[in-house]
Amino acid sequence: MDNLHSYLIISSILFSLGLFGVMTRRNGVAVLMGIELILNAANLNFVAFNRFGGMAELDGQVFGIFIIVLAAAEAAVALAIIINLFKNHETVNIDSADQMKG
C-alpha cells in the first residue's frame, strides 16, 4: 500500500471527482467545493512525489504550503463574489452571471 502508485490513484480519483463537480454543479458554492477537491488532489501529488523522490529536499511540501495559501485567498475572494452575485441577482446560479454590468 505504501507506494507511489496508490497515492497517485487516490489523487486522480479526487481530481476527477472535483472536475465532475465543477462541470455539473451550477451553484457557485458547489463549484468552489469542486475546485477545492482539485487543489487537494494536486497537493497530494506534490507531497507524494516529494516523499517517494527521496525527501532530500522538501520542495514539494513548500509547494503544498503555498497552494494552501493560494486556496485560502481564492476561497475568500470567490465567496465574496458569490455573495455579491446573490445580493444583486437573488441567485447563486453562475450561469445567470452573464452580464458585465449587474
Partner: protein, 140 residues
C-alpha cells in the same frame, strides 16, 4: 514518524466509540412508546420553535471570518519561522517584519473602514464615555 500521530488516531477512535455507545445506551433505556407530538419537536430552550435553523446569516459574520482566515495563514508561516529563528538570527527577524508590515496594511485598512467593530451603535442619550455614540441632532 507517523507513529507519533497514533495517539490522535486512538483519540478519534475512542471519541467515535463514546458517541456510538451513548446512542446505543439511549436507544436501550428510552421508553419505546409515547414518542410523538411535542417530543419530536426541536428543543429551543423550552420555547415553541420558530422557523428553520438554517437561516440566512448577517453578512458581517462573513467579513469577520474573512479577516480571520487571512491572519490564520499569516500564523501558518510564523511556525516554521519561529523554529529556525535562533539559528538564522537577525535576517529572519527582518524577513518576517517585511511580511508582517505588508499584512498590517490590510489590518489597518479593515480597522479604518470599520469592519472590525461589530455593532455600529448609536444611542439617543449619551453621557460620559457614551457621548461619542450619540446620534447627531438628538438632544441629550
Amino acid at each position: 514518524m507517523y507513529t507519533d500521530f497514533a495517539p490522535i488516531l486512538i483519540f478519534i477512535f475512542f471519541a467515535l466509540l463514546l458517541i456510538g455507545a451513548l446512542f446505543v445506551l439511549q436507544n436501550i433505556i428510552s421508553p419505546k412508546q409515547n414518542k410523538g407530538g411535542d417530543k419530536l419537536n426541536t428543543y429551543e430552550c423550552g420555547e415553541v420553535p420558530e422557523g428553520s435553523a438554517w437561516v440566512k446569516f448577517n453578512i458581517r459574520f462573513y467579513v469577520v471570518a474573512l479577516i480571520f482566515i487571512i491572519f490564520d495563514v499569516e500564523i501558518l508561516f510564523m511556525f516554521p519561522w519561529a523554529v529556525v529563528f535562533q539559528k538564522v538570527g537577525l535576517l529572519a527577524l527582518v524577513e518576517m517584519l517585511i511580511f508582517l508590515l505588508i499584512l498590517i496594511v490590510g489590518y489597518a485598512y479593515v480597522w479604518v473602514k470599520d469592519d472590525l467593530s461589530w455593532v455600529k451603535m448609536t444611542v439617543r442619550y449619551g453621557r460620559g464615555r457614551y457621548a461619542p455614540l450619540q446620534k447627531k441632532g438628538s438632544d441629550s
